[in-house]
Amino acid sequence: MKQIKHLMGLELKARLKRTIILAILVLTFCLTIFSSGAAGQEDTENNQPVSDEGFFNRFITYVKNLFSGEEGKLHSSGEIPKTGAADIQQSAEPEQAVLKIATPDVIKSASLVGDTSLGIFAHLSNPPLMKMDAEGHIVGQLAENYSVSENNTRWTFYIRDDLYWSDGEKVTPEDVEFSIRYYGEKTPWASWINDTLENSTVSDADNSVTFKFNKPYTRVNMEFATYDILPAHVWKKIENPVEYTSNGPYVGCGPYYLKLIDLNAGKLIFEKNPYWKGKMPEFETVEIHFYSNVDVATLALKNGEADSYYKYAGSYPYSGIEQLEKTGNFDFLEKTNVGLVFLAPNLKKAPFSDPKFREALADSINYEELARLETLGYGEVPNSGFVPSAMENYKETEKLEYSPEKAREILKKAGYSDSNGNGILEGKDGKDIKLEILIRPDYARTGELLDEYFEQIGLSADLKTVDSDTWITLKDSYNYDLTVTRSTPWGMLMHSSWGSGYFDSRRTGQGVMHNLEDPAFLQLCDNILATTDSAELQKYAYELQDYYADNLPAIPLYWSKSVTPFNRHFEGWYADPLYGIYNLDTFTNVTKVEA
């Protein structure tokens, strides 16, 4: 018995001992962490406000110092506070002069002509002939200016005289002629060039190239704002440019040339074109970094691994803006997006072919709520004229208003009533109206909100959220009642512009509705396509927006802003409505400044 007691006593003592040792170790550990965190804060007081970091952050700081072996330095140089990490990283590398852009537009293939995203990024090395300025006007880029014949068939572009390829060769009108013809012959999406281009000539006397089309074509200047100009002496040897892949370098004539495409490292590297005679960019290198996940891209921005963010036809995620704002290191460039999200009724089907029914639908939508929830304050209630204010020749039409009472009234007057009292309106055929709303994956929440709004005016709806391919299949076979979709900046400009390309029934395409057969609308499109006169264009543009407002072939749901964050150590960012910040003006103007 004594032995047992003795043993128990020993065991208790041993336990007590272990507990005391453990407590001392934990205490020492906590003290070390807190003291290292505090030391870091003291020394950064001059530059940054003392942060009230929690235990987690102090622990992180401690481990960071342990691994980087800078414990000793910590007391003298101070810890890099998280809010200042980006500043320090930037200022520690002034000689490298690298501008880094994070993007979720991951390129899939190292094919300059075949990969759409790479084609856009290559605007920096192989700029198109024309560009869009901040106000949405099409102006010269590689071309000094242009002229067009009276019948709109002959377009002459006068090429700038100070352009050189990165291999030292001069940029010639032949290069431009070659590029345009090359796209027409070798790429399916530019086959319109091959179909309509009758002939082309170059003149060395005035450094110009003239394209003669077999029919009037008034949007050539805008089309030529999208095709990268290629060096003829390099590309003429390549038989199939769509299938030609190379990691670079590619000969370019912009301020930079594309030096390397490294898909496994997830980046593109552009280096200064040694023969560039225009405004000299400050940065030796521009790096485009691909992030498959937007959250990770946000963290990269916060951490100073990227200086700005770019997404074609999109904004930096609104939900991430606050995070970046909190760091105090970012400013934001805000531009009203040319593209928009809209509700498209199936105009080939009753009751959606009835303008009164569409008007009632438009009145039933709570636009303010939609804009607030979907854009988190970076959007606005749209006008009935569809076209966002950022577009050239925008006309101020009536703002859309939420008025369920008015909607119910219109429906009643138009003959839609709830005669059986089940809360659902009946159509003119006497059956309950049940809307089938086809939703693209990105707009599931918008669909749910619409469902609620329509229910308030006595319309029941079935939401059908489908993947992109199913959406295209159902949309092309007009197998829907209503659908929620979006337009891109280029989509708004294509065809006869101002979004007409989405509705003209004579067209096809993956993202377009091609459901409007109204002769008045088609005539307007043709009128626009037949003129290059700016006054006439403005008149038709206004008429088109009035048409949209009166007939509501599509109901705009909200206009949004395209927000681009950039590190405030860099200034000179410039955004155009077509490609956002990804333009030559940005890259030749951005400079590094002290915050």
């Binding site: 999406w189 769509v242 990770v296 280029w490 294509m494 993956q510």
Partner: protein
């Protein structure tokens, strides 16, 4: 019919079925590869679309497309990717080599770690350490890979700054590759280990109650000898099955991990191929995955025969 002939017939039938399904499945998906190629906003006339369709061989009847597909397969030609603009075999070789480094290493580490710790936890499940490891691995196996990957990236890459956040490398050097792949491999290994741990632990708990374990103890063998020389051999049978099944996963990559770490691997490639209706690439990728899974199963069958004398004797034949 001998056992070997029966198995060969079974695997050959599986292969034929795989080839047929592989051809049919992508074509059953909604969507048009040609429209996908053109893009959302581009306007192309119907004639050009038809030309493109003819160029890709998509205008032919299904039967002719199938004959052409099988004939190309017999010539070891997997076709040409619509979107990646390269021969499918070349693309797959490149992606598979990266995926093998990244997922293969994870599976090996995860298996070894999971088996070792699982065996220890199963051998003495009443110990605190066993409780702790069991709890940890159960928790880990329940966390979505996407979340764990993001959390790991946040702590070790963005907070501690110890590892890079994306890509297979910064410069194509071995040091850079190891540095970049450390985090994704760790995350994947942890997942693989958690699965193997749970299976191995359960298996060891069952096996240690068997008479042969008691006999080994009666012979005076040490605990470690009993566990690692006798019990683990029998307990590893379900692990072999699990590994064979994992071979499909090995080549299809780990989509979510690849997305978080922006890795240009097989998972993302297959996802993009599905989205873009890149039939040749999808067919090629699925064929390779199915083929390796088939080979792995064959290998597992052989291993069972080697490890388990009952299978050799034919008594467990039906359950294998």
């Amino acid at each position: 019919m001998s056992e070997i002939a029966r198995k060969v017939t079974r695997y050959f039938t599986s292969l034929v079925l795989i080839i047929i399904i592989n051809f049919i499945l992508p074509r059953l998906m909604p969507g048009d590869p040609v429209k996908n190629l053109i893009g959302e906003d581009a306007y192309v006339s119907e004639e050009v679309m038809e030309e493109l369709r003819a160029e890709l061989g998509l205008n032919l009847p299904f039967s002719e497309q199938f004959i052409s597909y099988t004939s190309n397969l017999l010539h070891f030609d997997l076709g040409y990717s619509y979107h990646l603009h390269a021969p499918v075999a070349e693309i797959l070789l490149n992606k598979m080599s990266w995926t093998l480094i990244f997922v293969g290493v994870s599976v090996v580490i995860g298996t070894l770690l999971g088996c070792f710790l699982g065996a220890l936890a199963g051998w003495k499940p009443e110990r605190k350490a066993s409780h702790f490891t069991s709890f940890t691995f159960v928790v880990l196996s329940c966390i979505p890979p996407y979340f764990l990957a993001l959390l790991t990236l946040y702590i070790f890459s963005f907070k501690l700054g110890l590892f890079p956040s994306k890509g297979f490398y910064d410069t194509p050097e071995i040091g850079s590759v190891l540095h970049h792949l450390f985090l994704p491999v760790c995350v994947m290994s942890v997942f693989s280990a958690s699965r193997n741990f749970l299976v191995m632990r359960g298996s060891v708990i069952q096996e240690k109650e068997q008479l042969y374990a008691l006999y080994a103890r009666a012979k005076g063998l040490y605990n470690t000898d009993i566990l690692f020389r006798h019990i683990i051999k029998n307990a590893s049978l379900p692990i072999i099955t699990l590994l064979a099944l994992d071979f499909g996963f090995l080549f299809s990559g780990a989509l979510f991990i690849e997305i978080i770490f922006s890795l240009n691997g097989m998972g993302v490639m297959i996802y993009n191929a599905i989205m873009g209706k890149d039939y040749p690439l999808l067919q090629g990728a699925f064929l390779v995955i199915a083929f390796t899974a088939l080979l792995a199963n064959m290998f597992a069958d052989l291993l069972y025969i080697l490890i388990d004398p009952r299978v050799r004797g034919g008594s467990m034949d039906e359950s294998v």
